[in-house]
């Protein structure tokens, strides 16, 4: 179980979530801080992951960890430099099954944040997680992938390169993907080191075009489905561990000193996925169907355990959640995607704080605030004599 408390950081004044649910959604106006919360949570989860690896190595008789916390770099990567205030405080906790609480506390230190962690992770509590952040800059992926070679040395920001890296990795494993909600299919063809991404028809009208020439909705939604699909179904923690930790030990001649206290198979593992505005450039129907497919990938077809956080502006997505809750409650049609009410949290980010939109006396998400605009339009309409 995880909690987060963010105080006085950028647009956020006081944000407290006692228990981050497996599926969490943030809505709010542009600039309200939805993405900032997601980025802070993703950063804390990453720090906790690194702390687990350090603790694991320590227990395994490797006292000098290959990983150091370079908060200056992380803060710069996240674009947080201007967000830090004199009284900024971020507290992330992870509670293990045994009840042990591990706390990461970030406080202002000059122009960066100081990190304090309360204790090493006990051997029995060690976990190995993967964190993915699918930013709204994902729409550049098709162009970057096509022209990447000529952009060598170009830099489009940390989050773009993170999402591009995950996309690139995912397309090593997934060569085609149905996108029924757009009636198209995504395909990957490899020619030498170069990959070609295409969109082809599923319907009667036959066509195949480059991903970069497809609709903006398609370009935006391919990574939203593809990356979670890769992590939930194909990602191998063992390979990732070997790639990062064991290769480091091997390169530094410390592999013989490594006495693993636990096999990776015995360690708890989880994928954390964060997605900014999955609905970008999609028609309302397609927004709902994308969410249905995304939840299916993360929570139905998954082999790895997944937790998902979204930020959105879409009233359709938030209202659609009520249908998914009811399906779960009524066990409507076993094949249809549903959401267990207790696993869902929906927050409205406003005035630097959070408003919990989960209704307490019904199994519903309160979507009234998303009707304010449509009500206002027709109130104004009616007011004109």
């Amino acid at each position: 179980m995880e909690s987060i408390w963010i105080r006085n950081f950028g647009p956020l004044k006081d944000i407290k979530i006692d228990s981050i649910k497996p599926f969490t959604v943030f809505i709010g106006e542009s600039g309200s801080g939805k993405s900032t919360i997601m980025k802070v949570i993703a950063l804390c989860r990453w720090l906790y992951k690194m702390h687990n690896i350090r603790s694991y190595l320590k227990h395994s008789e490797i006292s000098k960890s290959p990983f150091r916390y370079r908060m200056d770099t992380y803060i710069r990567n996240c674009g947080f430099e201007k967000y830090i205030k004199t009284d900024t405080e971020i507290i992330y906790t992870a509670k293990s099954k045994s009840g042990q609480i591990y706390e990461i506390k970030l406080t202002k230190n000059k122009s960066s944040l100081n990190i304090k962690i309360n204790s090493d992770v006990r051997a029995e509590d060690i976990c190995f997680n993967k964190i993915s952040f699918i930013s709204e800059t994902r729409n550049v992926i098709p162009l970057w992938a096509d022209k990447g070679a000529s952009f060598t040395g170009g830099y489009l920001g940390y989050y773009f390169h993170e999402v591009f890296g995950d996309f690139d990795l995912a397309t090593e494993f997934i060569k085609d993907m149905d996108m029924s909600f757009l009636d198209v299919k995504f395909g990957v063809k490899k020619s030498g080191a170069q990959k070609k991404y295409s969109i082809s028809s599923k319907g009667k009208e036959v066509f195949e075009i480059d991903l970069k020439n497809s609709s903006s909705g398609t370009q935006n939604s391919v990574p939203v489905l593809l990356i979670p699909k890769y992590f939930s179904k194909y990602f191998s923690f063992e390979e990732a561990f070997n790639r990062s930790v064991l290769s480091y030990l091997s390169n530094t001649d410390r592999l013989t000193a490594f006495k693993p206290i636990k096999n990776l198979g015995e360690i708890n593992k989880k994928i954390f996925i964060h997605i900014e505005e999955p609905e970008l450039s999609l028609y309302p129907d397609a927004q709902c169907q994308l969410i249905s497919d995304l939840l299916s990938v993360c929570f139905v077809e998954n082999k790895n355990k997944v937790e998902l956080i979204l930020s959105t502006h879409s009233p359709y997505i938030i209202n659609y959640l009520n249908l998914l809750i009811k399906r779960s409650e009524k066990k409507a049609n076993g094949k249809e995607v549903s959401i267990e009410f207790g696993n869902l949290a929906v927050y409205h980010v406003i005035d630097g704080g959070l408003e919990d939109l989960i209704v307490q006396n019904e199994k519903l998400v309160n979507t009234n605030l998303l009707s304010e605009t449509i009500n206002s339009i027709y109130d104004q309409y009616n007011a004109i004599e």
Binding site: E355, L364, T367, S371, E372, N375, Q380, Y381
Partner: protein
């Protein structure tokens, strides 16, 4: 409650004793209210706050906003206040009410430069919260409210309407046809005082005969 407001509330805040407070009472089995309690509406659709009172409890209504506005300007200026205090004669229900109308003339300060209204909901919650804090700071009022079984901060949204050929408004407000009794929302700051936050929209009504906790 009138006396508590007139004497104890004003004394706590160092203000002169207030004059009359507009109060109404009813035991109608169904009634609706607007924000001034001058009139109690027995017919569905005439008011904003809808009450079902099937046990015909005697229900008192005080115009809290008007009361605050009678106090010295130094106190009432910029003070957030809800519209009504509603409580039963028997110690069952104690309710703060904020009635929100979507008509532009009522929410001018929430109209943005594009003519669209913003933040009505937040304004309502904020007015309820501030009123609750002001009231609960007065120990005798807190003791009085503590004696009630059910305490709520309620905001009532006026039922929206639109040209009959346009179904978007109806569609966007369909959530409120699912639940008849209002939506209880989490609000830890209100819950500290034993109050729950409820939101009522469309035809949702506050039932004064629900089984009490």
């Amino acid at each position: 409650m009138e006396t508590l407001l007139r004497n104890d509330f004003t004394s706590y805040y160092g203000l002169p004793v207030a004059s009359g407070i507009l109060k109404k009472a009813t035991n109608l089995s169904y009634f609706e209210l607007k924000d001034d309690v001058n009139l109690i509406y027995p017919n569905n659709g005439d008011g904003i706050a809808k009450y079902k009172n099937t046990n015909s409890l005697l229900v008192n209504m005080l115009n809290y906003e008007a009361f605050i506005d009678t106090l010295p300007q130094s106190f009432c200026q910029n003070r957030k206040k809800c519209d009504l205090i509603v409580y039963t004669d028997s110690p069952q229900y104690f309710l703060l009410n904020e009635l929100t109308d979507t008509l532009p003339k009522y929410v001018d300060s929430f109209i943005n430069s594009y003519g669209l209204q913003q933040g009505k909901r937040e304004k309502a919650i904020s007015q309820l919260k501030s009123s609750l804090f002001d009231l609960m700071a007065v120990s005798t009022i807190r003791t009085f409210s503590d004696g009630f079984d059910e305490k709520r901060c309620c905001f009532f949204n006026k039922k929206p309407n639109a040209p009959s050929v346009i179904i978007a408004v109806l569609a966007f407000n369909r959530l409120n046809t699912i639940s008849q009794n209002g939506l209880q929302m989490s609000n830890p700051e209100m819950e500290v005082f034993g109050f729950s936050l409820y939101e009522y929209s469309g035809d949702q009504s506050l039932s004064l005969s629900q089984p009490l906790k």
